[in-house]
Amino acid sequence: MEILNYAFMQRALLAAVLVGITAPAVGIYLVQRRQALMGDGIGHVAMTGVGLGFLLSWSPVWMATLVSVLGAVLMELIRWYGRTRGDIALAMLFYGGMAGGVMFINLAPGGSNANLTSYLFGSLSTVSESDVTAICLLAAFVMLVTLGLRRQLFAVSQDEEFARVTGLPVRALNLLTAVTAAVTVTVAMRVVGLLLVSALMVVPVAAAQQLSRSFAATFAIAVAIGVTVTIGGTVTSYYQDVPPGATIVLLTIAAFVVLTGLAAPLARRRARALAAAQPAGDPAECVIPAARKAGDEVSV
């Protein structure tokens, strides 16, 4: 395994594994509450943070975290208070975030859109020591929330109204989900890039659903897919000199296609098992009685 002899590859693989775990772990709650594209929105907002980081010569990762957390909280507030114009407000937030990023980075001394590219599409091989520290800390936070509060987040994402009647702090949990999603976006930024982050949050969950019947299994399979494709994509990019972000996303979509293909025979087998388990006298097929019964008579 000569690939592990290089320090930059060790860092890249560690970052990739952490992203492979965290992105689907947050994404499953976004998919459950039918906000699958929220990660994409946060990704756009995070661009302003990256631009500001360059302009103020602060760490772009931490600046992006700060700005995308603010953006995610703003999106959640819009969801509460402005239901009717919500989509318009969100659109403005997305594109405002993207335009802000481009503007700030060009205002930064010696900055150009070229600096932005590594954040837009990921740049695993340039992950620095301090990036790894930041990614580890943020990933630990994300895992703590998504696993530690899984029952609460499940209840709120499944049925908000019912969750409120069980006394759960629904608004606080919604805000926490938004913040966790924002943190995940910045964790994944260096690996797959801001424009492709959402794919790693949503597609593994969609792929896992093809096989699973429970939330717990969906969670586990999605994380397994996430880790497999991020490691696979990173290793492939090392040997084949292809961009890791794009490779990871294409692998994820391939996993979705393969699992969908596997799911059809699996569903048929389950249906047969269920039919076999039917109690006698309750036939699975329609049976037309030989003679008509009294109940079949229709009198007006």
Partner: protein, 255 residues
């Protein structure tokens, strides 16, 4: 009279600028089964949703177990069955996973202990869904889905059950199981507030009916007798499942 479990005094609520509740008074006492009846748009769902804090109230007072609703925190005593929504979550979930959500109000920080798992199993047995515990809720019929939502409300072992149209779109077999489950809860001493479109199979359980019209209480007392066509003397009750050729039950005048 015992202390009221639910008490509404002069409750008003608006959706947009349209008044939906125009000063509702309603109290439900311990052990009572009260049906909230009324036509579509009469405000019965809004009234129930105001009790659980889902609809903001512009005037009036709401108390649960003698505590103003804003300060009420003991949600484990309340089991809520929302109107069944066709939209499930975007991720598959098993019957057990959904019912477990109902137990959260009795746990500390959502950590499940042995008796929490047992309570979830017991709630599933009560509605006759224990054999489907590991199935996805997407694979259930409307009636079975409703039974799961009721099990979710029962998982916390509530003293008060609030149900919004529990019989809507539920097949006959499930209706009977639901009526039996509810009867058991009432025997156990549960207090029940039900939103119903019609009394139907739950009629024998109901102590009192509150009828709403245009956001006002029209009737508060014994369940109303059938009105309209059904109440006319001479209205023939033709039972659809009666054996063919059986004579309709003739009540008199018109035939």
């Amino acid at each position: 009279m015992t202390e009221p479990v639910i008490s509404l005094r002069g409750v008003r609520a608006e959706l947009g600028s349209r008044p939906v509740l125009r000063g509702i008074d309603l109290s439900v006492h311990r052990g009572e089964v009260v049906a909230l009846l009324g036509a579509n748009g009469s405000g019965k769902s809004t009234a129930v949703r105001s009790i659980i804090g889902q609809v903001p109230v512009s005037a009036g007072e709401i108390e649960l177990f003698g505590t103003p609703r804003r300060r009420f925190r003991d949600w484990g005593r309340v089991g809520y069955v929302p109107q069944r929504t066709t939209a499930a979550g975007g991720v598959p979930a098993t019957v057990t996973e959904v019912v477990s959500s109902g137990r959260l109000s009795r746990t500390r920080f959502g950590v499940f202990r042995k008796d929490d798992h047992a309570a979830v199993r017991r709630a599933l047995e009560l509605v006759g869904m224990a054999d489907r515990a590991r199935d996805s809720v997407d694979a259930l019929s409307g009636g079975q889905h409703q039974r799961v939502l009721i099990a979710r409300a029962l998982a916390a072992g509530p003293e008060l059950l609030i149900m919004d149209e529990p019989m809507a779109g539920v097949d006959l077999a499930s209706q009977e199981i639901l009526a039996d489950t509810l009867a058991e809860q009432v025997d156990r001493g549960a207090t029940v507030l039900l939103v119903l479109h019609e009394l139907g199979p739950l009629e024998p359980l109901i102590d009192r009916a509150v009828v709403l019209r245009d956001g006002c209480v029209l009737h508060d007392g014994p369940p109303p007798e059938a009105v309209g066509q059904h109440a006319l003397p001479g209205h023939d009750h033709v039972h659809p499942h009666a054996p063919a050729g059986a004579e309709p039950i003739r009540t008199g005048l018109l035939s």
